[in-house]
Every structure is written in C-alpha cells, then in structure tokens.
Symmetry: C2
Subunit: 231 residues, 2 copies
C-alpha cells in the first residue's frame, strides 16, 4: 500500500505529471486529481492500520517488536519522501557534487522502502534467534537491501533512456526532460552498467553470511532479476 500510495502521489501533475503507469492511465487521469490525492492518503493510513492488526489465530509479535516494525516502515516512508523532496526541489548544499546527489536521492527515494521491507522481514524471521545472531542477520540483509535498492533505481534510470514507453508501460525519457539527476546522466550508460554489476556483487557478498537454503536462494534470485530486468 505504501508503494502504491507513493506511485499515485508521484504521478500527480504537481509532481512527475505522468499519465501512464503499468500501461494504464494513472489514477488522477482515471478518477481526477482530488481522488488521487485522497486515495494516496487513504493507502498510507490503511498501511499503518494494517500493520497493527493481529489476524485471528495468529500470535502477535509482541509490543517491542511491533513498535520496531512501525518505526522501520515509517523510516522507509519518510526516507522515500525525503528523497522525493531532494529529487523534485533540490535542497542540497551548493558544494555537493552530482555523483553524491544522485546516489543520495536514489538511496532515499527508492532504497529506503526496499530497506524497510527487507529489515522488517528479517526482524520478524529472526525474532527467536539469540541476539548476536539476529543482529548479524539484520546487518547482512541491510547491506543486501542497500545494494539492491540503489541498483533498482540505477536500472530504472537505464531503462528510462534505453527502452520504449510501450515496452515499459510508462512514459520514458522524462527525467532528462525534467532536468533531473540520473545515473546515466552523471556516469553515462556504460558507467551505469558497470555500477549495476558492482552492486550485484555487493548484494551477493552480503548474502554470503546468511545460512544456506531457500531464503538465501530467493534473495539471490531477486537481486539477479533486478539487475537484468528489461521493464
């Protein structure tokens, strides 16, 4: 819901002004701008409500873990909003080089929510493990999440300049048109591809400290998929 909320608000005329998303009209095109603002607000509130529901027959995770999950989710949401502010409105110190700016924007606007998703799953999955073991897993997954979060947005920037709108189901070339900082804009297409591979390596190394098995395999597959996706 938080991801969907962010797309609906980001597509608004005052933000990215997009009329196509997943090959269909964006919500403000379909239902009007007022409804798109309200629907985004409702999803954000519903996400918070949902995280606090204990479905019948399910053992609650306990108060301190529950509060930590709420904090992680909101840190992800607020990081994403902060990234949008930097991306849309600037706000950097004049001395900040473009390479630092684009990395910070991408880490926040895209990476923060991926980080929250990865950490929340780990906190829940590792809740019965001894403290130091759980901490080591959280550190490894956070390193992994940082790498794939950044990678996701670098790949997104690459697709935006190399793929057609028809293939992606959304408008392309728009970042360059809007004068926004992108990885290919700062590092070139080839430099961005090299960076994607380096990030995939980093994600893979981070997974090395996790126990063998299905979970690690799924995370590895996800990282490889995100590096190679074409839409």
């Amino acid at each position: 819901m938080i991801h969907a909320f962010s797309l609906v608000h980001d597509d608004l005329p005052a933000m990215d002004d997009d009329d196509l998303r997943r090959g269909r009209p964006t919500l403000h095109i379909h239902a009007g701008e007022a409804m798109a603002i309200l629907a985004g607000d409702a999803m954000l509130s519903l996400a918070s409500a949902t995280l606090s529901i204990v479905p019948s027959g399910v053992e609650p995770v306990g108060d301190s873990l529950h509060r930590r999950l709420v904090a992680e989710l909101n840190a992800g949401t607020l990081g994403m909003i902060s990234g949008q502010v930097l991306d849309t409105l600037g706000g950097f110190d004049a001395a900040t080089p473009d390479t630092d700016r684009v990395e910070r924007i991408h880490r926040e606007k895209t990476g923060a929510l991926i980080m929250a998703a990865c950490r929340m799953g780990t906190l829940i999955g590792a809740r019965s493990l001894p403290g130091p073991v759980a901490d080591a897993r959280l550190a490894a997954v956070s390193e992994y999440a940082d790498a794939i979060g950044l990678m996701f947005q670098v790949v997104d920037d690459l697709l935006d300049v190399t793929q057609s709108a028809e293939h992606l189901g959304k408008r392309t070339g728009k970042d360059a048109d809007a004068g926004k900082l992108t990885y290919p804009g700062v590092h070139g297409v080839e430099g961005s591809r090299v960076f994607v591979n380096a990030l995939l390596d980093r994600a893979t190394r981070a997974l090395g400290s996790l126990p063998d098995g299905e979970h690690r395999d799924v995370l590895q597959e996800l990282a490889s998929f995100l590096a190679q996706r074409t839409k």
Copy 2:
C-alpha cells in the same frame, strides 16, 4: 500532525484551492504544490511513527492498548478522508436526502478525528479501571465526541456565511460558491443555530455520566467554547 496534514492537503488547488489559512498563505502558496503534497504525506507518516514511540522514562501502555490506539487514530483519519471524498466528489445514492448527506459528510470529514482524539484519551485514561466502568466512560465520551464533532462543522458552516475572511483568517463563502452542501444551506442560518444548541445539550448530557471533577469541567468548557466561537 494528522489535523495539519489534512489542512495542507485540503487547501491544495485540486481540493478546496485555498490560499489563506490562519491569516497566512497556505503551504502550496508558500512552498509550491509538490512540497505541500510531500509535507502532508510526511506528517501523516510521522504521526503514525510518533504514536509508536515510547519516550524514555515512560511506561508503555501495553501491546493490545497500543494496537487499539493505532486503530482508533487510523479510523479517524480514514473517516476524515471518506468525508472528503463524499464532500468533494459526491458518491451518494440518488435517493439520499440533503439533510442526511450533509450530516454524514460533517460527521466524517470533521467528526471522525475529534472522535479519535476523545476516544484515545479515554482509552488511556481509563486503562486501569474495571472493564464495565471503562466501557461506560468510553460510551459517554464517544457520545460527547459525536455531538461536538458535528457541532464544530455546523458552527464552521455558520461562520463561513456570517463572518469576514479578515476575521477568520481564511476565505469565506467558498462552500456556497463551490456548490457544496452546508448546514445553513440545507437548514437555514436560524435552523443551524437551533441545531448547535441541541448538540451542546447532547454533549452536556453525555458528560453527566462521567465523575465530577476537573476533566469533566474541561470537556464542558470545550463544548461551550466550540458552540460560541466566532472564529
């Protein structure tokens, strides 16, 4: 924060399109529409994060009460959003009379968050009381909250047609201009004043079942103030 978020988003050009709030420029006038959308989103997320923080030295309220507070707050937020949808976009069955529509809109868009505030305070304050006593208090305060929530918006409608923008610090006469349903529009100015007094009576009666003392006096004062306010 949730109240402030709702004002910032409601003032947006796609919603009420207001440029004056508390005698000052609205946020989108001051900082642009993108920032106003993002600031509203951030406040909504921060509110949820804040409700889950346990300040150092403070005893947490316990998991099940904490979850209930989250649910109450989000019910208030979602009620408010639902009221906005009805107010802005309609969506009623064609057979619903105006008197029912305006009451439902006002209960949701204004009353729901006042209800949440009153119930959350009561849930915390009554948490150590025996169950039936706590339930009776919650029922009384909910009845009070329903009356003052509705009253707040009826008074707001009255001020919108009887006071100057200069006095209120916001644009006036805008509901009628926008063709929105208002109490004076449906029941007349005199009928609305009679209704305000009836709601004040209802609020006062609801407080009658609460124990004597400072808390009841403050709630009574608040109700009287809201009935008589001129801005």
